[in-house]
Symmetry: C2
Subunit: 144 residues, 2 copies
DNA sequence: CTAGAAACATTCAAGCTTTAAATATGCTCA
DNA sequence: TGAGCATATTTAAAGCTTGAATGTTTCTAG
């Protein structure tokens, strides 16, 4: 409680959360300009190529059931398609449509402008990246 | 798009989000052990002393309307009280009840054990803190 | 081969979060 | 003083997220 070390760690957690919010707000702002919600934009951004629902969920740091919800919306908008997975019949293969690909390009362009990490120069960003990678426990977030 | 710098920044955003999730999951896990939800636990943790709704919302990195929602729950459980603010009649003064204070102590004890930042030693945590403070734009997250 | 365990995706209920709008109070300045 | 704008909180609607089932398919040990 009054242990300085514990207090510092709590404060640090607050900062991580604060920066995550700042990033999320940044995405949300740009998303609405394209008629997307923040969650939809995040999914679109993470869809770097064909992948399964689970892979997408992992990239979004969310539960698979949430990915189902978001992909439903994107599919209704004709931006994405759920195809049969080539080798595993349990899985779906998510593929961007032509419209989806085009919109994703526009989204990435918007997201790249005015980075939410502009306060850090490239070197500082590399240091931050190293620390975050070290702090993140591989299997913990979603099945600890 | 294929610009290496932009890709690195997107990846970095993903890592920030991932660590924030890891921290949130850590809180959630401990919260349920005390009959609290993650949001309620976060509010309780941030209530370091009497404060207004807006102050609490800022500490939680959320909208004031969300703080209203969470404080409603805590108040119904008798953990917190909304009192008149001593100098500003628009504002509420949030104060922990005796039960609330006791539960907060137990929560902090749980949260301190098994830190979600255990992957970093104290020195690394200080470096991380410095970078995060630099990356967070003071007025940005909540009023664009 | 086959039964059991594990993995992928989905559904549903419950709870969280944001936005916009509404109410109440405070502040500034002519 | 009082009009106009800013701030604190709340409400309602829409959307997000999680966790616990469920159905299907795959894997693994015998």
């Amino acid at each position: 409680m009054t242990e300085p070390r514990a207090i510092a760690e709590r404060e640090l957690c607050g900062l991580v959360n604060g920066l995550a919010q700042q990033i999320a707000d940044h995405v949300r702002e740009r998303a609405v300009a394209l008629g997307l919600t923040a969650a939809q934009a995040t999914a679109l951004r993470e869809l770097t190529g064909p992948m399964t629902m689970r892979e997408l969920a992992e990239r979004m740091s969310c539960e698979p059931s949430n990915a189902t919800f978001v992909v439903d919306k994107l599919e209704k908008q004709g931006l994405i398609e759920r195809r049969a997975h080539p080798t595993d019949r349990r899985a779906k293969h998510l593929v961007l449509t032509e419209d989806g690909t085009a919109l994703r390009e526009r989204l990435l362009a918007l997201l790249t402008r005015d980075s939410p990490l502009a306060g850090l120069n490239p070197k500082e960003q590399r240091v931050l990246q190293g620390l975050l990678e070290q702090a993140i426990v591989p299997g913990a977030g979603r099945r600890g």
